[in-house]
């Protein structure tokens, strides 16, 4: 026994990752831990990839269906994709190797709201989960499990899988012990009951995961860091977006529409989210809370500085420097952070009840406020919808943010018609770019087009867009949501042909 495996029967199941991986066979559906690069298994997937290579070398098939919490890391998604070991991958991913194979059409990827996967597996829509591979921080004396740096769908994988492989990762801080809140009162319809949570900081579950010993087929010890990408200092566009957003929140507070300490914040991952957190840290706002998916560096700093009282999430996603800060303040942070399964962190019931302010990134938005979060040029998958839909649909305010251009100005974030829709006009309150903020609440489509043109579009595309809007307003079949169908996707078409959405003669024609 070790200090991280404190139950003798579990300790007796210790084996190498290679031995453990042999429990996974061709065609299996495998539920793996991992959410935004935290808490994924570090050893078994790589050993499995090695084994798959050997089997393929013998000319035999070996592909599995991989269900996770969200994105993992090269050691999991990358390793298995590289050896062509994945038949189906669900849900959110962000690994370059996996992504390139998805977009080459070499494997099936199914993108689903992160808050819905666990229940749909429990409904039986995916068939049987053959085996779970779940990282934990420790196995306790009573056989209960101290979860890792993400909870994700681990409760469901442990509950539903026929067999379980546990990875016990010594690298995960002891301080995680007691930070989790696993909700076990999860009957399915028609027997489901309310989730009795009325504040992000309430605890409604237990700190530990449970697994029947008889399902555990292997325990693998690891000592490996999460995929912690370095934190980038916010760039000018991110800072501008954050400032527009914080000014807007000030305005809403002055109007009496939100309390002075705001409402629980949900914030996606990335540089804009970090810039927003940094901006909040420098603002007058205090007594903040978060009800979100992921705790990034920026949010951690708000907790450390005392600006934020509490953050509830399903995962960390910290930089190496963020980890240091966490360890430095872990005793204090233990009281301010709650990690829950993603079926609870992203639950529509709770997002609506708590009245979250939902802040998510986007790839593009159109003049009517439809948002594309997933597809480049309508066809190429970037990462996935993640939890943005869980929050956007039910939030008090649903905000989407992005720089006004991408690819050094060759792509406009604001387009006539988005090439793929993940969030409809019905679910988008506010769009923010570095240019400004468009408050779309309670506007008709044509009113939205006006304010988005005025506030959000980059100046180099403004005349082109104004020209489209003008001509659509007069030439459209219906005048409720005016469009010229042959031109609606022409900006994307032009980018695919010429490498730029920009049409030089467009602005000249206006001179």
């Amino acid at each position: 026994m070790s200090d991280r495996i404190r139950h003798p029967a579990f300790a007796a199941l210790r084996m190498s990752a290679e031995q453990a991986a042999r429990h996974i066979r061709h065609g299996m559906t495998v539920g793996m831990s991992g959410f935004t690069g935290a808490g994924y298994p570090k050893a078994v997937p790589g050993a499995l990839a090695q084994h798959i290579t050997e089997v393929h070398g013998r000319g035999e098939p070996f592909r599995i269906r991989v269900l996770t919490g969200a994105s993992t890391a090269p050691e999991l998604d990358g390793a298995l994709a590289r050896v062509d070991g994945i038949e189906l991958r669900v849900p959110f991913q962000s690994d370059p190797e996996l992504r390139s194979r998805i977009n080459a059409g070499q494997l099936d990827y199914m993108d689903i709201h992160l808050g819905q996967l666990a229940e749909k597996v429990r409904y039986g829509f995916f068939g049987k989960v053959d085996i779970a591979v779940v990282e934990v921080t420790a196995i306790r004396e009573d056989g209960s499990l101290v979860p890792s740096s993400s909870v994700g769908n681990n409760k469901t994988w442990l509950d539903m899988a026929d067999a379980v492989i546990l990875e016990v990762n010594r690298w995960q801080p002891d301080a995680l012990d007691g930070m989790h809140d696993i909700f076990y009162d999860t009957a399915l319809p028609p027997n489901r009951t309310p989730i009795p949570l009325t504040h992000p900081g309430e605890r409604v579950g237990e700190p530990y995961l449970q697994v029947p010993l008889e399902k555990v087929v292997a325990v693998v010890e690891t000592d490996a860091p999460d995929r912690n990408s370095p934190f980038k200092a916010p760039d000018a566009a991110s800072k501008a977006i954050a400032e527009h957003m914080i000014d807007f929140l000030r305005f809403e507070v002055r109007q009496g529409r939100i309390p002075a300490n705001l409402l629980p914040i949900q914030s996606g991952v990335g540089n804009i989210a970090n810039a927003f957190m940094q901006g909040l840290g420098e603002s007058e706002f205090a007594g903040l809370t978060a009800f979100t998916e992921v705790i990034q560096d920026g949010m951690l700093e708000l907790l450390i500085s005392g600006k934020m009282d509490l953050a509830a999430a399903t995962s960390f996603s910290l930089s190496p420097a963020g980890i240091e800060r966490f360890l430095e303040h872990s005793e204090m942070l233990r009281k301010k952070i709650i990690l829950r399964q993603q079926g609870v962190s992203n639950h529509p019931e709770l997002v609506r009840r708590l009245g979250c302010i939902a802040l998510n990134g986007m790839i593009e938005a159109d003049i009517y406020g439809n948002v594309n979060s997933t597809h480049l040029m309508g066809t190429q998958m970037m990462n996935g919808i993640g939890g943005s839909g869980d929050f956007a649909r039910n939030a008090y305010l649903s905000v989407f943010m992005a720089p006004s251009t991408a690819k050094n100005g060759l792509i406009s974030t604001i387009v006539p018609m988005v090439s793929h829709v993940d969030h409809t006009e019905h679910d988008v309150s506010v769009i923010v770019t570095d240019q400004g903020l468009a408050d779309l609440r309670m506007l008709s489509p044509k009113q939205r087009a006006k304010v988005i043109l005025e506030k959000c579009v980059h100046p180099s595309y403004r005349d082109m867009l104004a020209d489209y809007i003008d001509r659509a307003n007069s030439g459209s079949y219906g005048k409720h949501t005016p469009h010229l169908l042959p031109e609606a996707l022409s900006w994307h078409e032009r980018y695919l042909v010429t490498g730029s959405m920009f049409r030089p003669e467009a602005n000249q024609a206006q001179d």
Copy 2:
């Protein structure tokens, strides 16, 4: 006092519709009752329209912002639209006169999830509600109000409006008294608590609406029927769709994924919904329940026959024959029907908890399962999203149904890319046409395209669609959700130019 106005102070406020209408002035935001042609005010809107005509005749402006529950009738939406008296109309509408003005770009229409309007008004997003015009069945001795044949947003209009006009409609059956369940425990974030409802038949509120006497400025007596359209016998396509759907439910029950008495049914309005109810009535299913927006003739018959134990909704939408059936069985039906405000009938918390089977109509769907519920050819508003999004996003099963063609075959319901998205690929479990049923659960985009092509598309469009899919699979920029952007909307473009989506040479090219 009359038997319908049983409180003297309210009786003292009786006046004509013309007098009452003078309380409404140019620029006001007016909250009106009405949902799917039931429970809308019958007299004041017409008198207001008359008054607006006079004011316009003097060369003065007079337009109001009209918020309702959902669709009303010619006496409200039609009358006010005809005199150009509407500046902004929210939410769902279905009046021909109003629709034609919306699509001519003559007034602003804002389409919002029906379950969200009340809370967004309460959040203050719409500004002040100046006056409410609400139909009720009776005013009781204690001043409480017996709601009418729809509840809609009436609680919110009565709570929020500065002034209130009540229409007491003698035509509404006495039997409605006691049928309603108005939930008053509706604090806003951060003080909101769970809605403690775990079965469609539970009562969590009060049977009557409340209004402070001091806000009431007029009481108008009416005796006028709801807009009750005659019931059409299901056509062949509706019957085929209903049969596919009922077979699918049988399959799901056999697989153990839903109980033998199903889960609470949500059903949109229209002939397909009625055909489905009729099909259920002839099936082996029993012990059914409904958690839905609207009770149509078909559902009423299930309640009368005893196949359905209970239906919770926010409104009736009955034919004249349906009304007769209701009156005939009203004592029994009083125990089996609960009408709630639409913020509760359509609440995501409840739809998810109860695990509804959500059945909604659509205009079109694309090969990847995106659904357009609102826009003809992407630009012309039909009615609105209604509650379809409230249910589809959170349902146990989210089903969209339509005949495989429209306009005598000139329009294909299944298209390469929908011209407007109301329900994304993430929110659609099943698509049904008269051709068959496509179970999209847990499929990748390319797998979905295959099954939709195989099951749902009309034979006359099958080759054209197969050809598009083939060429997109090879020629698309990204191969995750393959599309040829210059062609993605070409079927709609062709319809606008030629009057048909069909391309004759397409099928020949395949021969």
